[in-house]
Symmetry: C2
Subunit: 332 residues, 2 copies
Amino acid sequence: MSDKDLGVVAIGNALVDVLAHATDEFIEQQQRDHGMQPGAMTLIERLRAVELYGMMGPGTEVSGGSAANTMAGFASFGGKGGFIGKVADDQLGEIFRHDLRSSGIEFDTPALVASEPTGRCLILVTDDGNRTMNTFLGAAVELNEHDIDEDIIKRAKVLYLEGYLFDRDQAKAAFRKAAEIAKKHGTKVALSLSDPFCVDRHKADFIDLVDNHVDILFANEQEIMSLYDVFEWDQVPAIIEQKDLIGALTRSEKGSVIIENDQIFEVPTPQVKVLDTTGAGDAYAAGFLFGFTEGMDLYKCGELGSAAAAEVIQIMGPRTDKKLAELVSRAA
Amino acid sequence: MSDKDLGVVAIGNALVDVLAHATDEFIEQQQRDHGMQPGAMTLIERLRAVELYGMMGPGTEVSGGSAANTMAGFASFGGKGGFIGKVADDQLGEIFRHDLRSSGIEFDTPALVASEPTGRCLILVTDDGNRTMNTFLGAAVELNEHDIDEDIIKRAKVLYLEGYLFDRDQAKAAFRKAAEIAKKHGTKVALSLSDPFCVDRHKADFIDLVDNHVDILFANEQEIMSLYDVFEWDQVPAIIEQKDLIGALTRSEKGSVIIENDQIFEVPTPQVKVLDTTGAGDAYAAGFLFGFTEGMDLYKCGELGSAAAAEVIQIMGPRTDKKLAELVSRAA
């Protein structure tokens, strides 16, 4: 991998998060009336986004998007990386591009002109810190095969794919093209399942991708159980052991379990006061991938993932200003 | 005041804040090269805003603007109010309008179409919590006499004016028109001096307004000393005593001093851990004006102001999600 000057290149939805506090009653009402999924992500259309925003309280806007959050965290650890995703040529698009670039990540996918606005994720945060996401994809929908830049994937040790992209056929095609480019250039492929409902909607495609292209799989308990149609966590390790990949499985406050063939590492997580869980999984992937691309052992990779997630859940929003590189020396 | 269904109507710059951490070295460099004023507000042009944003780290976007922050706080205390200010018909303008309205404040000034974008304030926050503001006014520049809505001012007990508007002649004219409308309808006029440099730039106009139109004057130590060209705080009370107004003077961690003729109240402030001082003065005015419009005594008004400011400096950004109404029962 001597010609590889980047650690990770990610492909994901380019979204700006709009975070606002909400009551459990409001979310329950929206669940009944509009199918909002508490604690998970629901895709919404433009008109619904306008309506929901109108009902939300005052918000905070920060750059988001699952894989983009991971890249911002990866850069904060000291890693070099790139991002492929679609914004529009509007103010939210400028904000998204600025924040990613100023965190040190290369991002050169051209903006969409005179069409849909930059996508946004309306995030309702309840008092217990849980977040319920409502995503209007906007310009992110237009990401397609032509946006996949072979050169930047070739430069990376790991290509990181966000499962949320599977909700659209042309993004799925872009995924496959990127995975083939990765294979050609010796770039490992990592995938995050993103969301149990997303897994459920596209199970066959996910299984095909996992079995044939993925080297590192990120998932939480609900996602991995949804993928393999099992109802008990205890059944999961035996399934992952048989796959030719590394499984990095997160279990909230129980920490994470990392599985590679017959090796299983159980990694604890720091117990901290939760303000907002937005971006916890993204931060875990950032820490894990930083450790992995720096050649650390899998237990250490898991420790860095947990430490990064612990930082992010103590603040509002998915990205922390804190230099995550400090966590590396602390864990050492 | 029986026909008055609103507590306060404010006129101010409609701005979205972009907050990012910065080092003291960066600010010193920008001070040398571009006249940035550490701890204060510098007006910048559009190109400079683009340049400076490009040099800033990842940001958080929240609705700001001094008087608009005060109104959001006033609503959080349980007050009813309105705002007059100019946004553009763009994404940042939508965010500003949404956040103010969803906090419960009436805001119906028409958006500027096909011209300058919504104004923004690029705020650099250093490790000690001090903020250095760089304001690109954008659409806010276009606020003029025609935007002054007589009906809403008539409905309010207090008209609150933000000193920052004095940087532009047509806003100054709008100010004077609003003050005359207030006088006609028995609406008290409150003014915040906003910034020592702003005071210095428009001293004669401020003195004329204070002497002839203002019933309640908000200022911090630097601002009031700049207005009256005195070099010691001890000289200030004697000057204010002679004016026919209430002076609410803030002194950071020393609390505030409220002066009305020969009555002087010294109000302490809660000592808290400072994260970001953005919006401290705005929150003080919110608490004070809530107490005032509810008929509380001046000491209590000052206590509510201090309590609100203490909440805001513990978070990033100028507005807190916390219901400030809780502070009223606590102070009682």
